[in-house]
Amino acid sequence: MLRQLFAALAMTAVATVVLGLAYPLAVTGIAQVLAPERADGSLVERDGEVVGSALLAQGFTGPEYFHPRPSAVDHDPRDSGGSNLGPSAPALAADVAARAAAYRGANGLAPDAPVPVDAVTASASGLDPHISPENARLQADRVARARGLDAAAVRALVGEHTVPRALGVLGEPGVNVLGLNLALDRAAD
C-alpha cells in the first residue's frame, strides 16, 4: 500500500515536470520561432502601435465604421462569453427586437426590412471578429455616406475582406470587421 502511495506521489511529480512544464514550454518555444505573430494573438499594428487583434472584435460605434455583432461582454476580452439567454427567454426577444429597430434606423432601412440574424444576436464568445456578408452589405451605404465615399467602392472593399468557407464547405463566410475598418481608414489617407 505504501509502495502504491509513493508511486502516486512520484508519478504526479514526474507528470508535473514533463507534462506541466516541459511540454507546454516546448510548444511555446517552437510556436514562438515558427509563427510568433499567431502565437502572440495575431496582433494588428498601425503606425507602430497595437490597435487590436485580427481575431478579436472591437466595439465600433461610429457611423463611419462597420459595426461588429452584439456582445454580452461589451467586447472585453478580459471576460469572454455569451448572453446565455435561453431560446424562449422573453429578454432575448426584447433584445433582438430593440437591436433590429436600432439597426434599421442606423442604416436607413425600411421599418419592416429583415435584418441579418448575426446583427441582432450576441455571439458565443462576445468577441466574434466577423459579421455575415449580408450584414456588411447592409451597412456599406451608411459607411459610404459618413465618409463621403462612393458606395460601390465601399462594397468592393467588403468583397475583398470577405472570407469564404474553408475548403468550400467548412463554417460560414464572414467579413473581418477590424480588417475592413482599417482598410477603410487606409483608403481615406
Binding site: Q4, L5, F6, A7, A8, A10, M11, T12, A15, T16, L19, G20, Y23, P24, A26, V27, T28, Q32, L34, A35, R38, A39, D40, G41, S42, V50, V51, S53, L55, Q58, G59, Y65, R69, P77, R78, D79, S80, G81, G82, S83, N84, L85, G86, P87, A89, L92, A97, A100, P114, V117, S123, A124, S125, D128, H130, E134, L170, G171, E172, G174
Partner: protein, 563 residues
C-alpha cells in the same frame, strides 16, 4: 439544412474513417503487452519513469490493487492540484497577479480536472495563472484521460484472459497511455492549432488602443498546448471562459473541424483497439458501429435543429436563414455548432464552440439526453468503451433472460458476480443526477443561480448534474455554478460519476479474468451482428428513457411546446 452542412458532416466522418483504424491498431499494440511501434523511442523513457516511481513493470496487479493504485493516484492528484490553485498567488508565471482560488472554487476545480470532467465554475482568463493552467490543469488533462484509458485496458484484459488473477499494472497502463498516445498527438495538434491562430505565449495582457481610441486588454497564455489535450483526452476545460467559441482557442472553421475530430478520435479508436485486444476484431467493429450510429443520428438531428429559425424571434424582423445564432460564432455557423454540440456531449468532452444555454429547446435537450445515455457514443477516452461494454453485458443478460439461457459474452458465463457491479454502474449516475437536480429545484439558494426561468431554468439545473455526474463538463452556462451549493454538489456528483463507475468496472474485469470460456454452441447469441448492435442501442435508449424522460419532459420538451 444546406449542402455545405452535409459537407462538413461528411468531411468529419471521412477524417474519422481514415484515422480511427490506424490509431485503433496502434492503441491495441500499446495496451497489448507485446512489442509496439516506437518501442525504441518510448521504452527508455517509460523505464526511466518506472525507476523514478519505484514501479516494477513486469509485476501485474489483482483488480483490487489496480483500483487502489487508481484511487491513490486520484487522491494525490487532487491534493496537488488543490494546493497549486490555492497558492497560485505567490507562485511564478502569474503575469496578471491573480490571487489563489477560494476553498470552494479550488475544491470544485480540482475534483473536476482529476475526474476528467472539466466542469468550470470559474472563468479561465480571470481566475487561473499561467502556472495553474500549465502545471495543474494541463497535467490533469493528460493523466485523468490516461487513467480512464488504463481502466479500459484492464477491463478488456479481464474479458480476454482465461483463468487469470491479474488485470495488468495501473502505473504501466497510465504511463504508456500518456507517453505513446496522448503526448505525441497533443504535441502535433498544438502546433497545428498555433498555425491556425491559437495563442501560445507566457504574456499577460497586451493593451491595445482600439481604432476608436478605447483600451482593449488582449489576453495571452499557453493556450494551444492545453486546447490540444483538452480535446484529445475528452477533457473539455477551456483555457478561456468561452472555451472553443473563443477566437483564441478556435480561430477558424478548419481549426473547428480538426478539434471536432480530436474530440472523437481517441474514443472511437479505442473501440477498434478493443477488437485487437480481445482477439476478435469483429467485436471491436460491432462496438464501433453501435457508438457511431448513435453519434451520427444525434449529430445530424442537432445540426438540423440549430440550423432552423427560433420561433421566438419570428416577430422581431430578424432574418434567420442562417439559423439561430444567439450564442454562436459567425465563422463557425449553426451547423458546425450543432455538430460540435452532439460530439462534445456524446463523448464526455464538454468543450463547447457555442453557448449551450442558448441552443434550441430540442437541440439542448438532445445534447442533454446524449450525456444521459451514459457517455457511450463514443464516450470519453477509455471510459466510453467501459460504458458501452457494460451496456453490452446488460444486453446479453437481458437477452439471456428472454431466451431462458445462461447469458454469456465471448464464451464466458455472465453471472451475478458481473451483473451486480453492472447494476451499481447503471444506478450511480441517475441517483446522483436526479437527486441533486430535485434538491436544487426546491432550494432557494440554488434557484437564485438561474439565468433563465420556467422550463429552461429547470433545464439549466438538469444539464448541470447530467454534465457533472457523467463527467462531461459542458454547461448551460447561464447558471451561476460558483455558489457553495453548486460547487459542493457538483463536486460530489463528479466524484460519484467517476469512481462509482470505474470501481465496478474493475470488479467486473477481475471476475471475468478468472473465468474460462466455454465453446460457442448453437444457441450462443452472436455479439458482432447488426441485430445485436441494434439491441444494444435499444437497451441504451430504453434505460436512459425510463430514467430521465419525466425530467426531460418538464424541461426541454415543455419549453419546445411552449414556444
Amino acid at each position: 439544412m444546406a449542402a455545405t452542412a452535409w459537407g462538413q458532416f461528411l468531411a468529419l466522418v471521412a477524417l474519422l474513417a481514415l484515422t480511427a483504424p490506424v490509431l485503433g491498431r496502434y492503441a491495441g499494440a500499446v495496451y497489448g503487452g507485446g512489442g509496439a511501434p516506437g518501442d525504441r523511442l518510448f521504452l527508455p523513457a517509460e523505464r526511466l519513469v518506472y525507476r523514478i516511481c519505484g514501479v516494477d513493470p513486469g509485476r501485474e496487479q489483482h483488480w483490487t490493487r489496480y483500483a487502489f493504485s487508481l484511487l491513490a493516484f486520484g487522491l494525490v492528484s487532487f491534493l496537488a492540484l488543490y494546493a497549486l490553485l490555492r497558492l497560485q498567488g505567490v507562485l511564478p508565471l502569474n503575469p496578471l497577479g491573480l490571487p489563489g482560488l477560494d476553498p470552494h472554487a479550488a475544491f470544485n476545480a480540482s475534483v473536476s480536472f482529476t475526474t476528467n470532467t472539466n466542469w468550470q465554475a470559474y472563468a479561465g482568463e480571470a481566475a487561473m495563472s499561467h502556472l495553474s493552467q500549465m502545471s495543474g490543469l494541463t497535467v490533469q488533462n493528460f493523466v485523468s484521460a490516461a487513467a480512464g484509458m488504463a481502466v479500459m485496458a484492464a477491463f478488456v484484459r479481464g474479458i480476454a484472459r482465461r483463468g487469470a488473477e491479474t488485470v495488468g499494472n495501473f502505473w504501466v497502463d497510465l504511463t504508456r497511455g500518456v507517453v505513446r498516445i496522448l503526448l505525441p498527438l497533443s504535441f502535433l495538434l498544438a502546433l497545428f492549432l498555433v498555425g491556425q491562430g491559437v495563442v501560445q505565449n507566457l504574456n499577460g495582457h497586451t493593451v491595445a488602443t482600439t481604432v476608436e481610441g478605447a483600451a482593449q486588454a488582449i489576453p495571452g497564455g499557453p493556450a494551444a498546448s492545453q486546447v490540444a489535450v483538452k480535446q484529445l483526452g475528452t477533457n473539455g476545460g477551456g483555457f478561456f471562459d468561452a472555451n472553443s467559441a473563443h477566437p483564441f482557442e478556435n480561430p477558424t472553421a478548419l481549426s473547428n473541424l480538426v478539434q471536432t475530430w480530436a474530440i472523437l478520435i481517441v474514443p472511437f479508436s479505442l473501440a477498434l483497439a478493443y477488437g485487437h485486444l480481445c482477439g476478435d476484431r469483429r467485436q471491436g467493429r460491432a462496438v464501433f458501429a453501435t457508438m457511431f450510429a448513435v453519434w451520427a443520428l444525434v449529430s445530424v438531428a442537432v445540426m438540423l435543429l440549430e440550423s432552423a429559425a427560433n420561433p421566438l424571434l419570428a416577430g422581431t424582423g430578424a432574418d434567420q436563414a442562417a439559423g439561430h445564432l444567439e450564442g454562436k460564432e459567425t465563422r463557425l455557423g449553426a451547423a458546425a455548432s450543432g455538430l460540435w454540440a452532439a460530439s462534445t456531449t456524446g463523448t464526455s468532452n464538454g468543450s463547447v464552440n457555442a453557448m449551450h444555454d442558448s441552443l434550441s429547446p430540442l437541440g439542448g435537450g438532445l445534447s442533454m439526453l446524449h450525456m444521459m445515455f451514459g457517455e457511450v457514443s463514443p464516450g470519453g477516452a477509455g471510459v466510453g468503451l467501459n460504458g458501452m461494454l457494460v451496456m453490452v453485458l446488460l444486453t446479453v443478460f437481458l437477452a439471456g433472460l428472454m431466451t431462458g439461457r445462461t447469458p454469456e459474452y465471448l464464451g464466458k458465463k455472465i453471472t451475478a458476480a458481473e451483473i451486480k457491479p453492472v447494476v451499481l454502474y447503471l444506478l450511480a449516475v441517475p441517483v446522483v443526477l436526479l437527486g441533486f437536480a430535485a434538491a436544487s429545484a426546491v432550494n432557494g439558494a440554488a434557484l437564485a443561480s438561474l439565468n433563465n426561468t420556467g422550463p429552461h431554468g429547470l433545464s439549466e439545473i438538469l444539464y448541470a448534474y447530467a454534465s457533472t455526474a457523467n463527467n462531461n463538463g459542458s454547461a448551460f452556462a447561464g447558471l451561476d455554478a460558483s455558489t457553495p451549493w453548486f460547487t459542493v454538489t457538483t463536486g460530489v456528483a463528479m466524484l460519484a460519476g467517476r469512481f462509482l463507475l470505474l470501481i465496478p468496472v474493475l470488479a467486473i474485469a477481475g471476475s471475468l479474468a478468472r473465468k474460462r470460456p466455454v465453446p460457442a454452441g448453437v444457441s450462443t447469441l452472436p455479439t458482432h451482428t447488426p441485430l445485436f448492435g441494434g439491441l444494444v442501442v435499444a437497451v441504451v435508449v430504453v434505460v436512459a428513457g425510463l430514467t430521465f424522460l419525466p425530467a426531460l419532459t418538464l424541461g426541454p420538451l415543455a419549453e419546445y411546446f411552449a414556444l
